[in-house]
């Protein structure tokens, strides 16, 4: 059995991003980093659990430029407040406002970043008990302080209001 290529490892995003912005003339970004990690055991079977979906995708906003497949990074399409959308349909969400890999993917299939249709199938199949009536959007705020002090508590409140037993978090 041959060895894999040396570069065939999980991509070192922090190093690449740091090098990239240093070369452009900016200082080093400091990623969030903690010693302790909380852990809440699952207290019910998934077949009985109500699942909340949290996404970083953005609702489509008319008039702020191209947000479609392959669109350039579109900061005007960003959002800065937690939002919620119903889960019994599939809302029009986009990811032109984040730094996904525009060289190797085009965001043409929303199911690659929003597993809502798959979750609806999982409910029908009895794999999970239910979806919460709403999914929730997490702003991709560059301020870690705002994420921790404002957005995360708001997302928790909405998940609790919806009676969630577990949360599936999908960054795009």
């Amino acid at each position: 059995m041959a060895f894999a290529a040396e570069h065939d490892v999980p991509l070192p995003y922090m190093q690449r991003t740091r090098d990239y912005y240093l070369r452009l003339g900016y200082g080093a970004y400091r990623w969030a980093h903690f010693e302790d990690v909380p852990f809440a055991p699952l207290r019910t079977s998934l077949a009985r659990a109500r699942v909340a979906l949290v996404t970083t995708a953005a609702p489509f906003q008319p008039g702020v430029g191209d947000q479609g497949p392959g669109a350039l990074y579109n900061a005007a399409a960003k959002f800065y407040k937690v939002y919620s959308e119903p889960t019994d349909t599939v809302p029009d969400l986009r990811i032109s406002h984040v730094g996904y890999d525009r060289v190797h993917t085009t965001a043409e299939d929303p199911n690659t970043w929003l597993p809502l249709t798959q979750l609806q199938h999982a409910v029908k199949a009895g794999r999970i008990g239910a979806l919460t009536p709403r999914l929730h959007g997490a702003p991709t705020n560059r301020s870690q302080r705002v994420t921790m002090d404002t957005d995360a508590p708001e997302l928790l409140r909405r998940c609790r209001d919806d009676g969630a037993d577990v949360a599936l978090l999908v960054p795009s």
Binding site: H7, D8, V9, P10, L11, Y13, M14, Q15, R16, T17, Y20, L24, G25, W31, A32, H33, F34, V37, P38, F39, A40, P41, L42, V54, Y73, K78, G99, Y100, D101, V103, H104, T105, T106, D109, N111, T112, W113, L114, Q118, L119, A122, I128, A138, R142, Q144, M148, A152, P153, L155, L156, C159, A164, D165, V166, A167, L168, L169, V170, P171, S172
Partner: protein, 122 residues
């Protein structure tokens, strides 16, 4: 999203993250993480490949059900493609001339200004 997972979990709500940036998520430290070794933007499976999307979600469920402790990472066995050379391209500066680097900086300044205006408006 890692910060959100930590906040929900600290309040007793079990979470799992589906993601593609292994180093960033693990550096933060999260309870449960299903890692797909795919280009960013494909946390839930390959495009136009329902089978891979179904398998990816099922793995996330299994991580929720079976993680024995915090910082549990499971790597999906799915491959983006056989050839891993796509991994060399992300933020690769070696192919850029000094002029192109200056252009990138200018573009970034524009993007930053747009985001700042939007944030202040919100």
């Amino acid at each position: 999203m890692s910060l959100v997972a930590r906040h929900l979990e600290a309040d007793g709500l079990p979470t799992v993250i589906m993601g593609c940036a292994k180093d960033i998520v693990e550096y933060c430290g999260v309870p449960r993480f299903l890692f797909s070794d795919f280009p960013l933007g494909n946390s839930a499976g390959r495009p136009n490949d329902v089978e891979s999307q179904t398998a990816t979600l099922e793995l996330a469920f299994r991580v929720l059900e079976t993680a024995p402790a915090a910082r549990t990472t499971v790597q999906s066995p799915l491959r983006w493609r056989d050839d891993a050379s796509w991994k060399l391209d992300f933020s690769d500066l070696s192919k850029l001339t000094p002029e192109e680097i200056a252009e990138r900086r200018q573009e970034f300044e524009v993007v930053k200004a747009v985001a700042k205006a939007k944030r202040e408006d919100a």
